[in-house]
Symmetry: C2
Subunit: 453 residues, 2 copies
């Protein structure tokens, strides 16, 4: 099996093979490709050609490809099957976490019908409970397939258990040790078992050092635990401490990537997770709220500037630097807030309390503000005649930068204190408020200075 670059050339080649109905060659090529690569190929093909490709794969591979396909393509693909067929052909043969994920992406009615059509009633009931976990909880991410042994079994019995339970579990990693009530007591690694004498008891070779997570815990906690303690698999326990399932690191990696993508989008003024392939309407829905905030900020600015109409008429040159002041306030505010938001998320703010943090940003603002103010002062003294203007712009700029630094630091910290996600404080929100702040400072200082000279 080869990992293959899924590029335009490959897509072209496959479409040609499909058109010429060269089934032998198609089958050969597909058999040498990883399911992930086939999914990427399928994402780039029209739906009818995708169906043909999937029809050429064996059952195991179809399932793997399905899990890796684009959501929309998968929905379209599955829509051609009855609930019974979906249950019988696909869900029945999937790992429980993949099955739950796929089911949760189906309309509620179809999801229930599919579960109702499953042959294995026990599996159906497990899936039903899995799909009932709230989104973004550890429970919603876990798989039920795992290998467990009771603490009073022997190593030999334990190996026999692995042999029996084996077919359901792709990667074992560790064997969980439970008591008679199913409560998680510890783990045995395969290495332990491989090297231990057969007649030893599990209780003599097992390790009590095991980090577990509650089924109701947020996926963010799952990600933090996995990252911090370098885990490859994390057991999930119910409220009674009983082993309920396990989360493997590959799913955690996906969570970490998704959360980072969402933060990035939030920072750029996009509220919900969207892909470039989403519809224009979905994209607009995610972006418009922030644009409206910007619009309101702009209206507020215009009302404030309205109070300075006569100044602008007498000194139109003041208006020339409105964009500069507004932009700098916005930029500095975003920089400060981004660092704080990230520090809060990664828990790297250290010992410094809010007061010390703000003091540091104040010093940083003073430093950056001073440099920028001197640059703009020099520019205006050289290229503009008005001393009042030069002083107004320079003094306003340093003031705006300092204020924006402090506000950018304070607002996310404050939001965090009152349990609001500080990430909403970055991006358009901070830009808009600092735009407004900048203009207020600029014109207030300008009026004072022009009156003084």
């Amino acid at each position: 099996m080869e990992k293959i670059q899924v590029d335009n050339a490959l897509v072209k080649q496959f479409r040609l093979l499909l058109q010429t109905e060269n089934i032998a060659e198609l089958g050969l090529q597909l058999s040498q490709m990883y399911a992930q690569d086939i999914a990427m190929l399928i994402n780039r093909l029209p739906i009818d050609e995708s169906r043909e490709i999937l029809g050429l794969l064996n059952k195991d591979k179809v399932i793997k490809v399905l899990v890796n396909m684009d959501e929309e393509d998968r929905a379209q693909f599955l829509s051609a099957y009855s609930p019974f067929e979906i249950a019988d052909k696909f869900i029945e043969h999937m790992d429980s976490d993949d099955a739950a994920y796929l089911l949760n992406n189906l309309p509620n009615k179809i999801k229930e019908d599919v579960i109702g059509q499953l042959q294995d009633v026990e599996y159906a009931s497990s899936l039903l409970s899995l799909t009932n976990y709230e989104e973004n909880t550890a429970g919603s991410l876990m798989a039920l397939e795992l290998v467990k042994v009771r603490i009073n079994q022997t190593v030999a019995e334990c190996i026999e258990e692995i042999r029996t339970q084996d077919e359901n579990v792709d990667n074992i990693y560790v064997v969980y040790v439970v008591d008679d009530f199913g409560r998680l007591m510890g783990i045995v690694t395969l290495k332990n078992l491989l090297l231990a004498k057969y007649d030893l008891k599990v209780s003599e070779v097992y390790n009590t050092e095991v980090i577990a997570v509650a089924a109701s815990a947020d996926v963010e906690e799952v990600a933090n635990l996995t990252k911090k303690y370098d885990l490859v698999v994390l057991p999930v326990v119910d409220v009674l401490g009983r082993l309920a399932g396990r989360i493997t690191v590959d799913d955690v990696v996906d969570v970490i990537k998704e959360e980072a993508d969402e933060d990035y989008q939030l920072m750029s003024g996009i509220t919900s997770d969207v892909d470039p392939t989403d519809s224009v309407f979905d994209l607009a829905k995610a972006r418009l709220p922030w644009l409206i905030i910007g619009l309101l900020g702009g209206i507020a600015s215009s009302r404030f500037l309205g109070m300075y109409e006569s100044e602008i008429q007498i000194h139109p040159e003041m208006a020339f630097f409105i964009p500069l002041i507004a932009a700098m306030g916005g930029n500095v505010g975003v920089q400060s807030s981004a660092i704080v938001v990230q520090g809060l998320a990664n828990d790297t703010l250290g010992t410094k309390n809010i007061g010390q943090k703000i003091l540091k940003e104040l010093r940083l603002g003073l430093f950056n503000g001073l440099i920028c103010a001197l640059l703009i002062l020099a520019y205006n003294l050289i290229f503009n005649d008005s001393l009042e203007l030069a002083l107004t712009v320079a003094i306003a700029l340093i003031t705006v930068i300092i204020f924006a630094s402090v506000f950018g630091t304070f607002i996310p910290m404050f939001l965090n204190r009152v349990n609001i996600d500080p990430a909403i404080a970055t991006g358009p929100f901070i830009t808009t408020s600092n735009d407004l702040l900048g203009i207020v400072i600029y014109f207030s200082i300008g009026r004072m200075l022009y009156q003084t000279f």
Copy 2:
């Protein structure tokens, strides 16, 4: 062992125990804590108290804590030791990837001295080659510790190999199968070995499906392979295909998180990876370049507005909406570019080529622009007398939003085409250029409309 919330209360408690020299209680508490938690505790203590804590730990735990400490704290801590002590007390007992990481964070001179002081010459030579890999390559991330067997050995010999090689490898995951030249041929899982007959040959039970990466590959490729193929460990091969080391998923998770953090900072106008705990000067160095870009953009805006001095004098109300127009252009530009930058990074842009993408953004811009323009038109018709102004602002706004959408999409795609990191196109760069673009459009339209009416 318990995972513990490292909060202010815990820090206070430990400082009290240190002051009262309650060594027994300190030792007890520390023995029940994970190294990662001790590292978090130490990050919050003054350096002399950190040293006391580390002095109370056994050798294995000190090493784990060291790897998890803040870079600065670790440097300060190690500065009290001679190169010989660093080699003898710490490096000698570490996994090669951790040792290389720690060594690469030391000044070059000290790094070489430390390696020169290592007792085990073979290990020293391996470490030297590990530390010589370029930053951000697979080689710089890999560990040399792994379990490998030759393809012509038996299962029994293989288990014996694990027993022998075992002490060097924390988590085995899989056993690598190599030929007589050390070239990677495939893998055997521990499960395979556990369930196989002892007299079988490795060649009869091994799996040739193994994804490997070249030592010179970028860490981004390592992250992408791990994420795509759901790997927990990735073998690294040299140019001759020989097994050189392996990268475990915990290190890949760190890479993914760091890259996401860097993208987030770049988006907010911060060029190099900084922490809130970095010095004011380091922070300023990372932020000033983008502020200077903003400054230059602001100066360009002021020069452009200078050409409209008489218009502003006659119609000062035009100046009122400068912040609105500039902000909206910036916001829309950031939204569009963020989606493209993310799509490029995640390879989710699908089949759509540049032309189709821009067309879609054009439609989205038209939609969002229309809504925003209608809102501002309604506002101005109700609250302002001037029809010219109301029309100018509305028409300029929709034009600016459409232009900013298209530019925001086009610029990162263009940069990507010419092999420049498109991420630099987001944040201050796009905001500044769209500010300027917005003002040019606004005043050009304004002049036309005012002359027409």
